[in-house]
């Protein structure tokens, strides 16, 4: 039992360390502070080959300049959640205009996206893997009390059955 618990803790720690290492390595290699992001909504879903949907994971690469048709991830000042939209125009002052593929029009903050707001452009898409994060943040964490209670009940029931079976033998 103790060995099993120790092994479990070791693997969890290994997973955490591995994730940090991959993140740091990719951040350096791809020249961006956010090399991997998960998509949480659907306005880039469409028929284009580089469209993506809620639940997909995006790999980003930072660049010195971006061009029309690049899909970029950027943070609007005072807004914690970054946006992922496609560049549709480059303004004369060097700022960018973006729009979601599934949106009919632009949002007000999309008419002048500054270079320093941009984390990178999307270079690779892995479908569905982002549902791990969505599941944890939207379903598991809000129901943490119920889930922990169910696990405790399961453990107690398992030990109870083992003791009962052991006594019979």
């Amino acid at each position: 039992m103790a060995d099993s618990l120790r092994a479990t803790v070791m693997y969890v720690v290994l997973g955490v360390v591995l994730a940090f290492a991959i993140n740091q390595g990719l951040a350096t290699a791809m020249m961006t502070d956010k090399p991997i992001v998960a998509v949480e909504s659907n306005s880039m879903a469409g028929n284009r080959p580089d469209s993506f949907s809620r639940g997909d994971i995006l790999f980003l690469q930072g660049q010195e300049q971006y061009k029309v048709d690049d899909i970029i991830v950027y943070s609007v000042p005072q807004q914690s959640t970054p946006i992922v939209h496609r560049i549709i125009k480059i303004n004369q002052d060097g700022t960018y205009q973006t729009k979601g593929d599934a949106n009919a029009g632009q949002l007000p903050f999309e008419t002048s996206v500054k270079l320093e707001w941009i984390h990178g452009k999307v270079v690779f898409i892995v479908p569905y893997l982002g549902f791990v994060k969505i599941t944890v943040t939207e379903y598991i964490i809000p129901n943490a009390v119920v889930i922990i209670g169910a696990i405790i009940a399961l453990v107690i029931a398992t030990f109870g059955i083992e003791r009962f079976v052991g006594r019979k033998e």
């Binding site: 290994l14 992001v37 659907n42 959640t81 970054p82 979601g100 949002l107 994060k133």
Partner: protein
């Protein structure tokens, strides 16, 4: 322990291990949203409707020039006789105020400050039926972006129809 059980436990452990790695990777990179047009429109439309209600139904008390004081000044054009009658003096006072105030001076009063993706912008236009020019213009020039609008009708104590248009973007 049987071989099948070992394989099953290994599979469960492997899936959980990779789920931890993927979750941490995506959590480090944060989730991104695609800022769907519909949700952005809905929020702005709700604000435009709320401003319409405020102007139509609240009897205002505000200076002809800034500054305005929260808690003591109130925007609103309603006449003492009540909805949907509007007070021409208050219309004139608000027009004077808008002529001297910076549009941002009214953000707090119109609840357009510190919204998702920054401050919202507004345009309020009040026309009297039969008059060629609007009696009141307040706010900024609307951008060609997603915007919520509200269209309200009232009347002056003398009976003329009042048309109030509000745009929030």
């Amino acid at each position: 322990m049987r071989t099948g059980q070992l394989v099953f436990e290994f599979l469960v452990a492997a899936v959980l291990f990779f789920a931890i790695v993927i979750y941490i990777l995506t959590a480090l990179g944060s989730a991104v949203v695609t800022a769907s047009e519909q949700s952005q429109f809905d929020v702005r439309n709700a604000n435009a409707i709320a401003i319409g209600e405020l102007l139509m139904k609240q009897r205002g008390s505000f200076p002809k020039a800034p500054p305005l004081a929260m808690g003591t000044d109130y925007l609103g054009l309603a006449a003492a006789s009540g909805y949907p009658t509007l007070d021409p003096n208050l219309i004139s006072d608000l027009d004077d105020l808008c002529g001297t105030a910076n549009p941002a001076d009214l953000y707090d009063f119109l609840n357009l400050h510190d919204k998702p993706f920054g401050n919202y912008h507004y345009n309020i236009t009040l026309s009297i039926e039969g008059e060629t020019l609007p009696r009141l213009k307040c706010g900024e020039q609307p951008l060609e972006t997603v915007q919520g609008t509200a269209h309200r009708l009232g009347r002056l104590p003398t009976g003329e129809l009042v048309i109030l248009d509000i745009a929030v973007w």
